[in-house]
Structures are given as C-alpha cells and as structure tokens.
Symmetry: C2
Subunit: 554 residues, 2 copies
C-alpha cells in the first residue's frame, strides 16, 4: 500500500517475528547476567502468537458507507482486508504489543482509507461526520501512548485514515528555509529529498525510520537533536488541518502577532480536531561540521548541575544525553566488542568505574562548532566531568534507533520493557527523578524481584530538561497488562505531584488522558472541548484520545 516499509504487526522493524534473532544474539552475556541478577528474572521463551492466529473482529463498516467511500476515494483506497486492518491495529506501546502478541487485535479499524489530498480528506471527514463513522489518522503507527486506540463510548465503526498517499515534498523555498510536505512523509524519505538542495530537517526521534511528519505535528514530537534544532513544534511554520467543519490554513512565517496562536492549537491535537493534510516546515543547511563525544560525570547531581549551567548560558550542545548511574552501567554492559572494552578502559584510566555518561554533539558551521564546544568544555570540567573520547559519541550515533528493536527480543524472553518520559524545571528535576524511580520500584518490586529503572536527560532548555525513563522487570505472566498499568499510574501520579509535565514528547493519547486535567486544569479541558465541538460537532475525530471522558477518570 505504501512504498515505505511498514512496521511488523507485533513489534518494531519491517521484519516478521519469525525472522527475529535470539536475545543471545543481540545482548551480550554479561548484560543478560546483569539483568537476571538485578531483576530476579529467569529468561524464558514468551513468543508472540503467529500473526495468522491474531483474532480480528469482522469489519462493522456499513455497506452503504463503504460504497460512498469507494465513490469518493476509489476502490484501491478503501481497504477492508485482514492485513491492512491488522497493520493499523494500534501503536507500539508495551501494552499495545502485549495485546497483539497475545493474539488480540480488538482495537483494529473496520477499514483503512487513503485520501489523496486536502480536499478529499475534508470531504471524507464531512462524510464520516454525517454517517457517524470514527476517523483515526494513521502515519507510521509508532504511537506509544495509545494514540491510535480508536475507542468510542458509542462503539461506532472506525476508519484508519492512512496518510501514505500524501507523502511527497511539494515545494522547496531555499531562501526562506521552508519546505512544503505531505503529512505521510517519513524522516528518511524527507532527508533524502532535501539532500540535493543541501538542506536538512534534523528531526530525529527514535521512531525516525517509521514515524511521519504528520504524526510529529499531531503529537508535538521532540527529536534526539531537539536541544539544538528545536522541538518539532518549532519546525512547523504552517499546516493545513482538514476538519469535519472545513479546512484551516494556519501559520504565517516568519512570525505573526495577529491574535492567539491557532497553529499551536493544531499541533498536539492528535487527530481529535481533524487530519493534518500538509505541513510547511523550517529546514536548515545540511551541517558542514559535526562533533560527537563522550564525557563522564562523577554523579547524577554533578551531571545535572553541569547541564543546568550550560543551559543558563545558552551553551548546550545540539545533542545532549546524560545517563544516570543505572543507565550508564547498562550501556557499558550492553556495548559489546572492542568499543565497550575501550570505553571501560578509558573510564578506568580516569578513575571512573561507573558514574554518569554524557553524550554531546555539535553540528553546523565549523567555526561555530569550535567556538561553542570551546566554551562548553570548561563548564563541564568545572563540574567534574572528564572527556572520554569521540568513539563514545560516534557509537551512540550508530545505535541511536536500536532500542525498540531490542525491546522485541526482551519481550520474547519474559520481560516487561517500557519507557515513559516527562520534563521539569532544573529546580524540580531532581525531585521528579526521585519520585518516578521510587514509584516504579514500589509498584514493580516483589519478593526477590526489583525493576531496573534507567533514566536519561535528552532535551535541554534554559528552564529545565526532559527525563526519559526505561523500565525493565520480570513480567507477571498471569496479569502482564495490569502489572504495567498499575506501575504507570503510580509513576504518573508521582511525577505530576513532584512538578513534572504529563508528557514531554509522547503526547496524551488514550493512556494519559485521565491526567490531562491535572496539567491544564478543568477550565483548560473545557476550552479544548469547545474547540473540538466547533470543529468536530459529532465527535468522530479520534474520540479515544486527548480529552478525558466526561465522567472523569476513565
């Protein structure tokens, strides 16, 4: 259906589960031993059911609506086959994967439609509004917060609106550093299309190989270089949003003071107001110089203090990634081969057995890379950091998209593996870190078992930073969903109470919406409802995400 590779139904990457390598092939023995010891985990095969065995409910799309969709979009662009529906049955959170690995695709759409442009999407939405059919925009399927849940209290049939046909680079304005792209375009294709113009977007989230620019906009994504390049929000100069009530053309580059920011209201709307059908993005000259390197701090507190000092003085590198002691240890164990031996050797030579690993990277014009690096290094040293070389930085770059692939293999072997993320001011960040760790350890600790909670800061701002947490634990084979949902609830309550934001770059989705009111207040939720009511009066646009159920905690 798309020329771009699609994610496998039950995990990450384009391959099927059957082609999956063994855990032993992807995780060094020392790392497996470390995990077994830390977690009280006994490696065991817990493979997914075969894709053929996944239970998919029959399509509930009424025949007359199907006919109207075919009339609007053409036969090829209305799909109800098993493969098309299965591949759009939710996102890639741990709970999404648990369900589909167990053979449950009950949240799958009743059909998949592929509109070819703004006008067709607007007509589709008007039709769906009239017919009471839900529309869930589908980009790369990489949501980790239930953004594709398609849930509906009224149980109406639902369509996945696949963006794959709107996936081209329509215009390049080199002088203004602006390009116009379709929402279905993915990072690799966009960067490849920009390269002949010596331009780059530079938005590089971990999902880069599969996620789409429409998805980035709908979820307010951030990338691994967003400290320097900016959040995706900052890269959107304009967008077109098709809604059941008409089309919005928003954004006026370079900047406007003509009333409240409606573009910012479309960003992060997660399909609940409509479908993004075109974007105008800010690009930049392809960087001429790049310098990545590793540093080691004695402690997490030292590392945070060093980054905060850099942030205050606008000296943060473009990529900043500070791992806590637990993540640093896992990184060292996980890195197999010569690289890891060299790294461990380098650390020992500098009197560091563990500490906190910092990866930093600068990109751009060579003299500015030199100047910024030259100004940052003394600050790092003042906070006790020692440089451990370029090899560490380059190794991180090579493996920057690897974690979700590894997750599949860990899930195959009886592990709970999930991530969550937040952000807080520099002042609140240490308390948020402590609170999340304590909550996860309390919730997931059992007789002789402890989760491994690994954290890093990866997006720095003058006012604070993000915190990204990876959790591993021995899976409760009897109640695996409940095991994680309980832990997630405890962690979310704890991080909000300590001053963290509900999400720094994963969006609200279905999973976070019970807490949205804690973030924006009851009146803030009511403002969003008023906007949705105006744009989507029949509530057909992705009703399972963003806004909490009226009854309160869902």
């Amino acid at each position: 259906m798309s020329e771009q590779p699609e994610l496998t139904v039950q995990g990450w990457g384009p391959g099927g589960a059957s082609e999956a390598p063994d855990l032993a092939a992807v995780l060094p023995k020392a790392a497996r031993r470390h995990l077994a010891r830390e977690l009280g985990w006994t490696p065991r095969p817990t493979p997914p059911v075969a894709v053929d065995e996944i239970r998919l409910p029959p399509s509930r799309l009424p025949a007359d609506v199907h006919a109207e969709l075919v009339a609007l979009l053409g036969e090829d662009h209305v799909r109800t086959d098993r493969d098309a529906r299965l591949r759009r049955a939710g996102g890639r959170s741990y709970t999404d994967l648990l369900r589909r690995r167990a053979g449950d695709a009950s949240g799958a759409p009743d059909a998949v439609v592929l509109p070819g442009g703004t006008a067709q999407t607007a007509a589709l939405l008007a039709l769906c509004s009239e017919r009471g059919v839900l529309v869930v925009p589908f980009g790369g399927g990489t949501s980790v917060v239930g953004g594709l849940a398609g849930a509906d209290p009224d149980d109406r049939p639902s369509l996945a609106v696949d963006l794959a046909r709107m996936a081209s680079l329509a215009d390049v304005d080199v002088a203004s550093s602006l390009v116009t792209v379709g929402p279905g375009m993915r990072g690799p294709a966009l960067e490849a299309a920009l390269a002949p113009h010596a331009l780059a977007l530079g938005h590089l989230p971990q999902s880069w190989e599969f996620a789409t620019v429409g998805g980035y906009a709908a979820t307010r994504s951030a990338g691994q270089a967003s400290t320097g390049v900016g959040r995706f929000d900052d890269l959107v100069a304009g967008l077109t949003l098709a809604t059941p009530s008409g089309v919005l053309e928003l954004g006026h580059p370079p900047a406007s003071a003509a009333g409240p920011d409606l573009l910012g209201l479309a960003l992060g709307s997660e399909g609940a107001f409509g479908v993004v059908t075109e974007l105008r993005l800010r690009v930049r000259p392809a960087p001429r110089a790049a310098r990545y390197e590793g540093w080691s701090f004695r402690s997490w507190a030292d590392g945070l203090a060093g980054l905060q000092r850099l942030a205050r003085h606008d000296l943060l590198p473009d990529v900043v990634r500070l791992s806590d002691p637990d993540e640093t240890r896992a990184t060292l164990l996980n890195a197999g081969g010569t690289g890891a031996r060299l790294l461990r050797g380098a650390l020992r030579a500098r009197g560091r057995g563990g500490g906190c690993l910092l990866v930093v990277g600068w990109e751009g014009l060579a003299p500015l890379v030199r100047a910024r690096r030259g100004a940052a290094r003394p600050v790092l040293r003042e906070h006790g950091a020692v440089p451990i070389g370029r090899r560490v930085g380059e190794s991180w770059r090579r493996h920057r998209y690897a974690a979700p692939y590894l997750r599949d293999r860990l899930m195959d072997a009886g592990l709970l593996v999930e991530t969550l993320e937040t952000a807080a001011t520099w002042t609140d960040l240490p308390a948020v870190y402590d609170a999340v760790r304590a909550a996860l350890r309390a919730s997931l600790g059992r007789e002789g078992r402890q989760p491994l909670v690994m954290s890093h800061v990866s997006h720095g701002y003058p006012t604070g930073a993000s915190l990204y947490v990876t959790v591993l634990a021995d899976r409760d084979d009897a109640l695996p969903l409940q095991q994680w949902l309980t832990a997630k609830r405890a962690a979310t309550d704890a991080l909000l109470a300590a001053g963290g934001t509900l999400t720094h770059h994963h969006a609200v989705g279905a999973d976070h919406r019970p807490w949205l009111e804690r973030e924006v207040g009851p009146l803030g939720v009511e403002v969003l409802r008023a906007v949705k009511q105006r744009l989507d009066p029949r509530g057909v646009c992705n009703p399972g995400v963003l806004l909490p159920d009226r009854e309160g905690f869902s």
Copy 2:
C-alpha cells in the same frame, strides 16, 4: 495611582504638552528642510487643545455596580475622577492622538478599577459578566492598534482594569532562569529588580519605558533584541489568565506535549478572553559582553540578501536593524552634531553617499560574541557591506526609545506621522516592501505632495523578517483621520495581498480586526469565537478588539 510615571494624555513621555520643546530644538535644520522639500509640507503650529478642554462624557457606571466594585476592591481602587479616566482613554496610535489632541475622549472608560491579585480579578470579571459591564485591561496605555478602544455594539458601560497594583517580582528561580511577575510590571522596574540577581529579561520594544509585561503577553510583542532574545511569546513560560468563567493556569516549563498549546491561545488574546494576572518569564544571565556596530550596504536588495544568508546559517546578531535608503537618509539628516558629521564622513570615505544603514549588536559571553561576530562579518562583506564603526551602533542604542517623543513634536507642526509593520518570508519580503510603499504613496500623494515612507527590517528569523514602516506626510487639516484611515486600509490590503502578515508585533486591536479573517480564515475566526464564548459567554471582555464584527467588515 502608580509609582511608575504615567504617559501624558495627548502624547508620549511623562511630561505635559505645555513643557514640550519646539520642533526646532529636537530636529536639525537640515532635516526640517529635507522634510519640507520631500513632503511639500509647510511647517505650521497645530498644537493640541489644553487637557482641561478635552471633552469627557459623564461616567455611565450604575451606582449599584459602583457600590459592588467598592465592596470588592476597596474605595481607593475604584476611580471615576476625570484624570483617572482621561489617562486611560485609549492608546497611542496616530488616530488616538489626533482625537485627544482635538479634545475628543469619547472612548474613555466609565471608571478605572485596580484589582490586587488573581482572585480579586476573577471575582471582578464574574461580577462584570453578571452586570453587563465591559472590562478593558490597561497596562501602559501604549497600544498603537486601538487595543484599548472599549467599543461595544451594545454600548454597555466599561471599566479600565488597571494592572498597576499587580506589578511586583514575586519569585526568582535562578537555576531554572524563571521569574514570576505581576502583569503591571514595566521593563525598567523589572530589569532593575533582576539586576541584583545578575539576570536580565532583555525584552526592549520602543515602548519599553511605559509598556507592561501583561501588555507584552496580550499583544505578542517583539523587542528590538528579539532576533537574539526571542519574541515575548518565547519568553513566557507560563501565565495565569482570569476569565469570567474561572482561572486558567497555563504553561509547563520547560516544554510539554500534553495536548494543544493553550498558553499560545492566551498570548495575543488582547483582553478578549480575560485578564493576565501573573506571568512566569524566562530570564537570562545579564550579558557580560556587548558589541554594537554599523555597516553600510550598497542597496536594499544587497542588505536583504546579506541578512537572509546570515539567517539561513543561524548567524544573525542579537540586534539587526537594516534601514532602506529613505530611512538611512533621514537617519543621517536627523543625527545632529559631531556624531552625524563623523558618520557622513565615514560613509564618504568608503564611497557611500547613502546606501542602506545596518545596525547590528551581539550580547552574551565574550568568546561567543567574538565567534558569532567573526562568522558573520565575512558574510556581510560578501554581500558588499562595509563596516562604519561602533559609534553608529552605540548612537542607535542611546536613541532607541526616542521616536515616539519626536512624533509629538512633528504632530505639533502639521505632520501626519504613523508607523505600521508586517513580516514575510525572505522570498516574499521584497514584494511586500514594494507593495506597501506603492500603496502609501498612491493614497497619500496629492498635487505637489508626497509622503515620505521609511522602512527597516528589525527582527530576523531563519524563514523571513519583519518590516517596519514609518510614514510622514503633510497632514490634511480638514480630514486628518480619514486621510490616515484611507492610507492604512490601502497599505494593509496591499501587504496582505503580497504575502505579509497582518501584524508582526503590534497585535490586532480594533484597527486590524476587519482583516483578521484574511489571516486565519473564516473557520479560524470561528474557533476563536468558540473559545471566547466558553470563557466570556456574555462578551464583556474587551469586545472591541481582535474578533471582527459578525457582519463582516466593520
């Protein structure tokens, strides 16, 4: 009522018109001659009426509402005296000044109230909503787009809600570069309060001496250093908005992906959704180094090309101000004394009689100022610019707030003097520039008379830049309002048609609202109406601004 100096009723600055110096004392003879020649203008005394003679309609505030306001706020904080009402009778646009200079204060509020905090403001708004009394927030009174118009189709009584009692620095979080301030605080007071912490805000619009931070937020202000420091939008990490429906607490620093950006919906809301009662602002270390200097380009096209190239590579200085040939000539004539002679000499020595003047400034850590300046200079040279020294830069800094004072004196002598501003992408900017100039010259040109249209770029972005236009013309003494409103309408139509934004940093106010639909589309206007309806169901919050009348062109 406030410890901060208030603007005079009929012009700029704290003094009364009677203390005003003569035009000859503030404008060199050569400049006066140049104006007379260019404009076909005969200098003549056109002084304002005495303040005592301004016609102020009696207050329409019902006695029972007055009593309720006194009960809520205290007697001292409900004012209906002539001076209090006159001082809040509109802003400082040319048409505002024309009216009050002619003795017309018909738009004055019926009373002035001074709430002391968020809870009191929320109670005030609920009361006004119930009683059908309009509320117009009043900060420094510096709006130049009719933001304080207080117009209402139903002709209800109106209150100016003066922010002066909410004007303190409540909290300083140095580590997170965040401060909490009241909306009534002005730039000088805030910078003075930050100085002991070695911090600075750095938001320096021309209205800096009088405008308030609440006003900056409500209008999406930009400052003279916003190329480097960011627009005011970028400096607001959070704010509290009291509305008739309750209180919104918005923004979660450093960043959040928890749904659409509601903070961005409060910014630029111009009092139409409620009153900003507290702000959390991003500050920065007081700069340790500063370097300002002048350059001269051969032509406007060369200058724009040079700035565009700097912008693409993220090399723009913190302050960038490129004047077109007309503004450059006026600047040279206007600069009296030794400085001007030196500047003219420097230009002649470099073979430049006129050209386009560029003022640039860098601030921050010394090594980065050096590196950024070092990387920018060759780019400027490649585009034919020649350096003309620090004195030019320092002179601009000294006089950066002078223009509005001079305007009063020009108005005293029979001139039309007004400014307007827009922004466009680098690609569209030349066409926007041509279109605005042509429209103004066509509208204001008469037998033997031509306006002088002077422009500069003062806010650079990777994607484009602002354009700020100053217009001088011989005033039509019979129909002065109509003369300017006709020209403004022509200029606005022209700049929108050429791809400019309705306003880059002056807001919509009453003056631009007929064109808002051109900027955000009819559905965009409807979304704003839906938000207003939810927050201000009785429509008492500054109904004369932002949203167009339902009937269309007002």
